[in-house]
Symmetry: C2
Subunit: 143 residues, 2 copies
């Protein structure tokens, strides 16, 4: 572990405050079972905080920064090996998103072991749990 | 300090991800210089995360939780002594809001020393700096 406990706790706090943990099942016929399974962990900030987000990115050394058309910056982690590394870093310290991180671990494991359509459907059931965990009425406009 | 370094770093991360640090100067004739000076530190979450926010509040032991009409929960710290305690806790670990926290410290000190209209105007100038520090185009709707 290249990060100190306080760095790991900081990252978990940042994720809990403003991060997103989810897996999307995107219909796509070029995949064997008709879906692309796309896990991702995203940290958000306004474009105002680009320098600070770059420092966070340099500390974390995972994912990449993308600027959306609406000016929101996203630090996106969507490679499986990097997601697994992020989970090891942040899960022990997270108060708000431990379940989402644990579910993502479980889905990644299940995906690796898929042998048939039935295994795939079982994994899709796990993906569906995010709808319950992440549903939120949160909408806000910052000053 | 009743909090561990990892707890302090977590709180700083949470603030950086989704918190707000500002001082409002509200016009109010019942105050000597025509304004009420209201500093506040607010941490936001969706109502979905009430239990986790309560745990964060229990850890922090500062401020109070308020539920807005739109379902957003706010952990609000607006007593000067509590704000000062929060600054001691979080400032060393904050990557994104160190300037806002340092400015708040400065305003609180300046406010204590006000002797006349001129001192008051100088403090108002400090409050104005938040407009620059906090201005953000960030608007978002969560999934």
């Amino acid at each position: 572990m290249k990060l100190s406990p306080t760095q790991r706790a900081y990252i978990a706090g940042f994720l809990d405050g403003d991060g997103s943990v989810y897996v999307r099942a995107k219909p796509n016929d070029s995949y064997r079972y008709g879906y692309q399974i796309a896990p991702s962990i995203v940290l958000f900030q306004s474009s105002k905080s680009k320098e600070a987000l770059k420092r966070l990115h340099a500390m974390l050394q995972l994912g990449y920064i993308r600027e959306r058309n609406d000016g929101i910056l996203e630090l996106i982690i969507n490679k499986v090996a990097e997601i697994q590394e992020f989970i090891v870093i942040a899960k022990p310290f997270s108060l708000f998103k431990k379940k989402q991180l644990a579910l993502m671990e479980k889905i990644i494991e299940a995906k690796k072991k898929i042998k048939n359509e039935c295994d795939f459907q079982a994994m899709l059931k796990l993906v569906d749990i995010y709808r319950v965990l992440n549903y939120s009425k949160k909408r806000k406009i910052r000053p």
